[in-house]
Amino acid sequence: MDASVDRIAWPWGSRTPYGRHEPWPVRVDTYLEAGVEPARVQRWVQTASILHSDGDAMDIAVLDGRMVGVRGRAGDRVNRGRLGPKDLFAWQANASPDRLTTPLIRQDGRLVACDWDTALERITSRTRELLADRGPGSIGFYTTGQLFLEEYYTLAVLARAGIGTHHLDGNTRLCTATAAEALKETFGCDGQPGSYDDIDHADVIALFGHNIAETQPVQWMRILDRLEGTDPPRLVCVDPRPTKVARRAAVHLAPRVGTNVALLDALLHEIIRTDRVDHDYLAAHTVGFDELASRVKECTPEWAARICDVPAARIGEAAEIIGTADRLLSTVLQGVYQSHQATAAAVQINNLHLLRGMLGRPGAGVLQMNGQPTAQNTRECGADGDLPGFRNWQNDSHVADLARVWNVEPRTIPHYAPPTHAMQLFRYAEQGSIRMLWISGTNPAVSLPELARIRSILEQDRLFVVVQDLFLTETAQLADVVLPAATWGEKTGTFTNADRTVHLSDKAVEPPGEARPDLDIFLAYAARMDFRDKDGAPLITWHDPESAFEAWKRCSAGRPCDYTGITYDKLRGASGIQWPCHEGAPDGTARLYTDGISWAHPDVCESYGKDLVTGAADDVSEYRSLNPDGKAVIKAAGYLPPHEIPTEEYPFQLATGRTLYHFHTRTKTARAPQLDAAAPDVWVEASVSDAALLGLGEGDLVEVSTPRGALRGRLRVTGIRPGLLFVPFHYGYWDTKAGHGPDGDTPPRAANETTVTDWDPVSKQPLFKTAAAGLRLLERADGEHAPAPTTTASAPARAGTVPATTGGTAALATEATEATEAGEAGEVVEAGGDGREEGAV
């Protein structure tokens, strides 16, 4: 028998310990809906998870044309069969009865059902009017990190060459913009240097603002398995919350939010002071060391201790562990990216690796992580503020090359300034210079900062808003046209995870009603607009996912993200493949920069770099004189205090963030009963000492307020650092009476009612971790508890004081491991093998 585990109560499942340099053992996780035996499954359809950036490979179980469960893919390099709680349960949202099944258009102030022809006609006629009256700059597109590669690429071509607008960005701006920017600043070009396999080989893993246990739970399983095995790694954790990572760390630093650069400068100071510097590596592969050395000369641990409010001795210990690592792996996420001085801080982590020569070898690497599942593709395909294929908008030969691929004149593609970022896009809409905003697969009315402002922008009569989504989200409720989209499992395409692994996701079931794949929607719009290339032929020459993928391959050829060696057939039935994959690397590429820095030369780099304080762009002559040979650039940065600091009225700092059981604005995860029950409503976390000082306790109804607005939720007292409040950002209003925003009957509960409109001037990523806030009691708890999980960083400070988070029988999933099943493992893994593999036909 397989072992059954309640995967809400035990999110990471059972351990399969392994030693350093050994392969990670297989453990196949399966969840099938009640009453469905594996033998009854008719088809297993190949895909990967679309609920985080990990790319957990899985098969969808299909019975009588509907999804009935999922199973991890044992042979995939990313997860070796494991699935996280969201992977196991969130697929149920696909069959939710409130899916959008027809287009809607606004008539007399109300959204009413219509056919596709009517909806598309309304969009194309408005597009034509605006193009004629106001030009391409009046049209903007705001997309997501959850579509497929083929869809982003099509959107990028139709927006940049079809419409000719500069205004196309993704909500990836909120999650991964700093990762991309930090890589460009250091290596001249985007592209994840490291690989998840580095977890198998590292002896030190440093996690900077990265709660990997909740954001990429399957890689946390991998780290846990190594911690239980021989020669385990030591962990260094920088996080102001008592995360699972912090609890297992050799050194945990919980700095005051907004002070990452000070902390990192002190770590760099110590590495240099103790001369744990790989001078040969520096000389061969970098420029800029001297400036860094002089910049951090005075940045002692004692200096940083005063700014960051962590003991100098702990900083010294962290530096000692990092400085003596044999193979160092660092990972970085929102605690850095969504914080003050985001890019400057992320770049200092790259610098740690350059100084120590820890790149391009097994176990020695950097993972500048992504948040969303397909954020990587938004970046590659140019559906965010970049040109496709990591081309440099300031380099005329790159633009000419792109124009050649698309067969258009270079001046057709706007490149006189950087592509417009999301926050600026909404500012243009606020000012009235953007008059049409097409939002696909994202919910800015919950996820962007300062929601009262965002709602006021979307509600304007003069702004024509198109929303393309699965459900009538808060944003869709404000739209002029709503397009029902098919999602994961209902359409085919590829996407790429945070370590460059490309997966195929095949269609398993039909979409509901008239919902269509996002690709089909973009293609239908492009066909109606009749976009042409410079010879008068259709601009977009593809018609389905596979032909779109082939078109993208031509655009990626010779670029860092080269896909030319990948085909749908090669991905079917096999493990995902890491790009670049081409003739010279037919099986893909585990690590970048194994043999020096390859994409930083002035002629090939994606960016000439920016000022880390002002965001001002350098030009090619400055870059060429700084870095003529295309080495890695060591960029120094000094600490600057955050813009918003606590006051008497707002004495706390506020950070918003995620929880293990939810994704984004819960459009899917709240419709999966097990996940919804694990974290059903918003809560507020405060420290033991702050709660005691204010006389507050578990479950009290409190209000968190900032100069922008307020929200209310029940209090959870945790081991979070004193002075800091935490609120999860997932909760909006679609499942309240009010619908899209707070009103008289529905109190505010979205974290972004309170957040500040401020962003990193370099990456343009908004700050979600550095607001000043007040906290007050609204109503004493009368036996209630905060609806926060006890299994995560939200665990109560005193164990046993609140009921434990469990899922019961509804959350039982099976685990099959080689160890427990001995010789039968293969049989167990293939238990559903009566059904044919989709890829086999």
Binding site: R134, G135, G137, Y416, Q424, Y428, S433, T614, G615, W759
Partner: protein, 166 residues
């Protein structure tokens, strides 16, 4: 006129120029409260100019100059609030875009004037082997150049949209 007097005059000029730029940056930050990046970065850059003002006052002292209030007078609170309220009132209008471009241009020109003064001081410091003055210019001038590059970048980004949407 002696050698030293020329340096004193330039110090005094630049002190005035940095004071002026600090005030201008602060005023622009307030006037464009609803252009958030302008607001925040201009506020940060005003801090640089105020630091320059303080350093120049100290250097002036060494040259026998009294350059007055070294703090760089901050803008009165009421006026600042009025500017911010005015920005919010017209936040939904396109015309402030033009005003913003004009403001950025003024900032750029003011920073360019300061940059040339720093150049003159650095040259004179080398000629007179005044190490302290040379160190001051070497420390501050790069920041002035960064102020110019920022205004230039923002003008480059914003002008296509602003100038084609009125």
């Amino acid at each position: 006129m002696s050698r030293t007097d020329g340096i004193s005059l330039t110090l005094s000029d630049l002190h005035h120029g940095e004071q002026h730029l600090a005030r201008q940056l602060t005023a622009v930050a307030e006037r464009h409260r609803t252009d958030h990046e302008i607001h925040h970065v201009a506020t940060d850059l005003a801090g640089w100019s105020r630091e320059h003002v303080r350093s120049l006052a100290e250097a002036g002292h060494a040259h026998g100059l009294d350059l007055g209030d070294p703090a760089g007078t901050p803008t009165p609170g009421l006026l600042a609030t009025l500017r911010e309220k005015a920005a919010e009132a017209v936040g939904h209008r396109p015309e402030p875009g033009l005003l913003l471009l004009r403001d950025l241009r003024e900032l750029h020109l003011a920073a360019a004037g300061n940059s040339l003064c720093w150049e003159m001081l650095a040259q004179a410091a080398q000629a007179t082997r005044d190490d302290d003055l040379l160190a001051l210019a070497s420390r501050c001038h790069p920041r002035t150049l960064r102020q110019m590059r920022w205004t230039n970048t923002m003008i480059k980004i914003l002008s296509p949209q602003v100038l084609t949407s009125l």
